[in-house]
Symmetry: C2
Subunit: 465 residues, 2 copies
């Protein structure tokens, strides 16, 4: 490894070479740890290109590193040659906000929450919203095509990106930064690098789409008897409110029970935890009142027997309180300690069938608690399996594989995806090989070999090296 360290020291300013810290070598739950030969934090695209060229010349693996919030091990190499960790943390400049066109060109290290603020300062919103927005960086969010709670209205990260600047595996800089909505000049390599999880190059900057800020936001929690009713409520809301629905989240009883059991402390909206609660978030313009729309929806849904109880936010503070219930569930999950977590999607209409069928299948393996919650409007559930009270995750080590296989087989049979929004990383490479389309996999391998013949870019992520 001396070769690469000397080469980097020769070519990069001293400020770009940093002492390695443990936090770069672990994932958010602290369960897995990775290897690292060096930590490089370039200040410019040219320094990124120098780094990649040095790695290409010495055959050194390199892992592009954003906020480190990924949940599938895309940022962690647990075996093989220790990689250079290429952190984008010093490249966080917002190069340009075009308030007339509603676009923003930003460097890959900019943190999502900073982008929210920069857009709002110009009267726009950047709608990508997820729990880790205080630390996730846009480069990583694009590399993993992040989703979150507003996909229903605004799409995934890739749908919010008009162009990218990236360093390819041979050190070439590719610049497709552009605010254009229409630009049909050759293959769309933006979309190839987005979602490739750093295996085809490093995204160094992006031009992002901004959206008009809705005049008024609103939210409601509505209690439904079952997932069928939740789906019918979603359809009713779409028919009445259409594009004004920003998010439609489903919360199962277990999530509320977990919050009561281990915190974090949040105000429970209903004293008896309902079996299923829907969180509906609206953003309306043109003088429309979200509270009025939500009241009308509730009344119609109540008459139709779809909802049994509900509360409509009377203030922005109350809306935030509703969201804090939803956003606190992942933390409660970590405190309980899942045996196996699943980030799945199925065709929206099949959600009720999946929710009805899965517990019985899992009961054939053992006794578990299931916390099912997520983005119903996108058909995306976080379907997480926990030990019964008094037992721990460690008690079920031997069952983890069977649980995962059971859930993923069911999802695959229903035409769903075993990675809806988190990506493949290293933890789901087996799943991709098992469930992925063979023709697509062959083409992916051909593209990887063509663009990264030395296999230096995040090797082991997405595709087996």
């Amino acid at each position: 490894m001396t070769g690469i360290l000397d080469t980097l020291a020769d070519r990069l300013p001293a400020a770009a070479l940093r002492p390695m810290e443990p936090r770069y070598l672990e994932e958010p739950r602290g369960r897995w740890h990775g290897l690292g030969a060096a930590l490089v934090a370039p200040a410019t695209t040219a320094e990124v290109a120098e780094t990649i060229r040095a790695c290409a010349q010495t055959g050194t693996p390199v892992i592009p590193y954003g906020g480190g919030t990924g949940l599938v091990g895309g940022q962690l190499a647990q075996s093989g040659t220790p990689p250079v960790i290429l952190s984008m943390e010093r490249m966080r400049t917002i190069r340009d906000v075009d308030a007339a066109a509603g676009t923003m060109t930003v460097e890959a290290g900019a943190i999502l929450a900073e982008l929210h603020q920069a857009a709002e300062a110009q009267g726009w919103i950047f709608p990508l919203t997820l729990a880790s927005q205080g630390s996730a960086r846009i480069g990583g969010l694009l590399a993993t095509n992040a989703g979150g709670v507003n996909v229903l209205r605004y799409g995934n990260a890739r749908d919010l990106c008009l162009g990218i600047e990236a360093v390819l595996p041979d050190g070439t800089v590719m610049n497709t930064l552009s605010p254009l909505r229409k630009n049909n000049t050759g293959y769309d390599l933006r979309h190839l690098l987005i979602g490739a999880e750093g295996t085809l190059g490093v995204i160094t900057a992006a031009t992002l789409r901004l959206f008009p800020k809705p005049e008024r936001d609103g939210a409601a929690l509505m209690v439904v008897p079952d997932a069928d009713a939740a789906l019918a409520l979603l359809r009713m809301a779409q028919a009445r409110i259409g594009e004004g629905i920003s998010a439609f989240e489903l919360i199962g009883r277990m999530g509320l029970d977990f919050l009561a059991e281990v915190g974090p402390e949040v105000k429970q909206p209903f004293p008896d935890h309902p079996a299923w609660t829907c969180l509906i978030d609206l953003g309306l313009s043109g003088g429309a009142d979200p509270s009025v729309a939500l009241e009308a929806l509730f009344a119609e849904a109540f008459d139709a027997g779809l909802v049994t109880d509900g509360v409509i936010a009377q203030s922005e503070g109350q809306r935030q309180a509703f969201w804090s219930v939803r956003e606190s569930i992942p933390l409660a999950n970590r405190r309980i300690g899942a045996i196996s977590s699943h980030d799945i999607s199925v065709p929206v209409a099949r959600i009720p069938a999946f929710i009805a069928r899965a517990p019985g299948k899992l009961a054939e393996i053992g006794d578990y608690r299931i916390n099912c919650f997520g983005h119903l409007g996108d058909g995306n559930l976080h379907y997480n399996v926990f030990p019964m009270p008094g037992r721990t995750r460690a008690d079920h080590e031997s069952e983890r594989g069977a649980i995962k296989r059971c859930v993923h087989d069911m999802v695959h049979e229903m035409g769903g995806s075993v990675s809806a929004e988190h990506g493949i990383g290293r933890f789901k490479v087996d799943d991709l090989e098992r469930y992925g389309d063979p023709g697509k996999l062959a083409a992916m391998r051909a593209i990887k070999a063509a663009l990264d013949p030395k296999g230096i870019m995040n090797p082991g992520a997405v595709l087996r090296p």
Copy 2:
């Protein structure tokens, strides 16, 4: 060529082998003609795969053929080994409409107008809308990432596609058909094939996104003094009506003059042809009235000095009459005969500067009439240069190159695109080489070589063979 014909005859049902007809070998304006060794019209994806495998084995070029409406020669090989023309016309089945989820899986040969009808029959819309929708097929529309008039609201063809089935250059079938909104399982090869113009494979089917049909449509023509005012009107409309604006088109005086001069006969909305007219199309839901919204917009814009005259459609018939003015302009253009046509985009805010600057630059080359019209909301103009009255396109043959170069240089300097929605085909390969990002071009060539090492898929389109 006997080799490929015999091979195809051996492997395909007789019905798939058709006599060649001249219409497959010319482009819509009849200006250019191509070569063709055989016409194959498969009935199934398996037959497409057989065809591609036969071509791969014999090293025969193959051109995927949709409706033949492309304007950049993507469907025409003018030199080299005569290709197999692979027409998708027999694969036009709508395999599935999911009325609950709002998705539709269709074969590549389905005609766009048929898809509109199929979606509307289920209470949804498929919003891709363009002049050739009566003959353009969805496979070609995706292969070229078609745009049209509703991109402002709904995006380009790629944004309307959730998954594809395609035959890759070695005959492998890749199946990523899926109604899922969230599915992060490997490289997004859907977006790589979309817009690749048949050079990386043949799209055989697609899952498309449908959208709720707005409750009420409406339209207005508003006269503005100049492009700055048109842009200000667009911004005002976006601020007031937001996502309800389906299209915002700009029509220059010359287009109206051409209609009066050569037809087709349409009712001119204003007796004196205004310098600039905006066609604004709305689709609103939630009980909102498009006429009321347009009247309010007109009143506010009139007070601000942005519009000087206008008419709001009082019926669907009148709305269609407004659109027939807009949609008849390309036909009038063909009757006049452009010296050079340009499908360009620039950042929306720079449209007025481009419109102000271009005529002076062109006047340095010669005396021309300019018909400038297009999709202002997308920054996409069709900027077409015509002979003065009494002269013909043939009189200016020697100037065509200089005109095109002049317009494209200006567009490139302003950060625009020399192909906004028509693609590269064969006619713009030089432009892509001149203006394209070198890093992107190198990566495109590497991908082409990896997926199509024999160079059989639409050779000469997009990339020089």
